[in-house]
Symmetry: C2
Subunit: 212 residues, 2 copies
DNA sequence: TTTATAAAACCGACTAGACGGTTTGTAAAG
DNA sequence: CTTTACAAACCGTCTAGTCGGTTTTATAAA
C-alpha cells in the first residue's frame, strides 16, 4: 500500500475510534491513549498523523460536518425544484438525519466544545450562511427560523439524553416540521385547511372547524 | 460567624467559581484545583464541603435547577389563571429566562454530562413530568411539543455558541413562541388573523415580496 | 532488476505536569 | 475540650506530548 493510502487509513481509523469512544464513554473519556487503543494504532502512530489532540478534534469536526454537508447537497438537489423553501426543507431534513444517525456530528460538536470552545467558530459560520438562505427564501422568516429551532431542539435535547420523547414521536414531529402546509405564516395566504399527505400519510383531519 | 453560615458561604463561593470557570474556559477545564483558585478557598476547604468532584457537580446541578424551578413556580402562579396552557407558557418563559441568564443552568448540564452522564437522569425525570403536563393541557399536543422544542433549540444552540442570531432576534422569536394567538393548532379554532401585540410590539409587515 | 539512500509511517518507552483525592496540621466555633 | 472549617503539603494515576529507534515505501543510480 502506498504512503498516501496508508496515512488515510490510519487517520480514518483514529477518527472512527474517537467517535466510538465519545458515543460509548462520553466526551470526557476521549484521550489520545484511548484513541490509540481503540484504533489499533500505537500512540506514536496517532501522534504522527495528528500533531496535537486539538488537531484530532478539528479533523473530526470537519469530517462529520462534511458528511452532513454532502447529505445536505444531495437533498437540496432533490427538492430545490419542487419546494418553495428548499433551504429550510434541506436543513430540517439534515437535522433529522443527524438526530437519527448514531455517528452524529453532534457528538463531535460536544467533544470539541468541551476541549476547546474556539473550535465552534467553524460550524457557527457555516450555520450563519444557511440561516441567511433560509431567511431569504421565506415569506415569514421568523416562522422559518422557529421551525429550524424546533428541529434543533429535538436534536440537541435527545443528544443530551434530555428528551422524554419516543422514537416514533420524534419522527412524527420532524415530519410535521417538514410539512409546509402546516405552517402558515403571517403574510402568507392560508391554503385550504385539508391535511396534505406528506412523507407520512396521516388521516387526522376528521372534522376540522373552519376559521372563525 | 457561626459554622453553618461559614459552610454555606464556602459552598456558595465554590459553586459560583465553578460556574464562572465553565462559562469562561469550557466544561473541560472545570477541575477541583481551578475551583479552589477561583473561589479563594484552599483545595482542602473545597474538599471539606464536597467530598468528591461528582458531589460538586450534583450540588451545582441542583442549585441551578432549583433556581429555575423557583422562577417557574412564580411564573406559573401568575399565568395559571389567564392562560389556556399555563404549563407550556411557563416552560417557554423559563427556557427564555435560562437563555438570557449568563449563569445558566444549561452550563451545569453540559458539565455534568461530560463528567458523568448518569447525572442527567435527575433533570430528565423532571422534564418528563413537565412534558406530560404540557401535553395534557394542549388542544394540539404535537404543536405544543414543537413550540417547546423551538425554545429548546434557541437555548441550546446559543449555548453551544452555534446560534447566528442576535439578541433582539432571540427575544422576538421567544415572544412569538409565547404568543398563543400565533400558533393555531389542528383542533383549535383559529382566532382572527390580526397580529396581537405581545410583550414586544413589532410592526414588521412592511412590504414582503409575495410568492413567485 | 538490483542496490543504495532518503523519506515517510509507525512503534512504545518516557517525561513533565495536571488531576482527584488523602493526610496532617491549625485556628475558630461550640 | 471537642468538633467543625479550613489550609497546605503530599500521593498515585492519568494525560498530552516527546523521542530514539524500526519498518515500510519512494526515488534513483548502477
Amino acid at each position: 500500500m502506498d504512503n498516501a493510502s496508508r496515512s488515510e487509513r490510519s487517520r480514518n481509523a483514529a477518527l472512527e475510534a474517537a467517535i466510538a469512544i465519545i458515543a460509548r464513554d462520553g466526551p470526557g473519556r476521549l484521550t489520545l491513549d484511548a484513541i490509540a487503543r481503540e484504533s489499533g494504532l500505537s500512540k506514536g502512530g496517532v501522534m504522527h498523523q495528528f500533531r496535537t489532540k486539538e488537531a484530532v478534534l478539528k479533523a473530526l469536526l470537519e469530517r462529520q460536518l462534511g458528511h452532513f454537508e454532502e447529505f445536505s447537497t444531495r437533498y437540496m438537489a432533490k427538492v430545490s425544484a419542487t419546494s418553495a423553501n428548499p433551504n429550510l426543507a434541506t436543513q430540517l431534513a439534515t437535522i433529522r438525519e443527524a438526530a437519527s444517525s448514531p455517528n452524529s456530528a453532534a457528538l463531535a460538536l460536544v467533544a470539541a466544545m468541551v476541549e476547546n470552545p474556539r473550535l465552534m467558530a467553524l460550524p457557527r459560520e457555516r450555520e450563519a450562511e444557511r440561516m441567511a438562505a433560509i431567511r431569504d427564501e421565506a415569506t415569514d422568516p421568523d416562522l422559518a427560523m422557529l421551525r429550524w429551532a424546533g428541529a434543533m431542539g429535538l436534536l440537541l435535547s435527545s443528544l443530551f439524553g434530555m428528551s422524554p420523547l419516543g422514537k416514533e414521536e420524534h419522527q412524527r414531529l420532524f415530519a410535521r416540521l417538514l410539512d409546509d402546509s402546516q405552517w402558515v405564516g403571517l403574510t402568507q395566504p392560508a391554503p385550504p385547511r385539508t391535511v396534505k399527505s406528506g412523507t407520512v400519510a396521516v388521516a387526522k383531519a376528521a372534522s376540522r372547524p373552519k376559521r372563525a
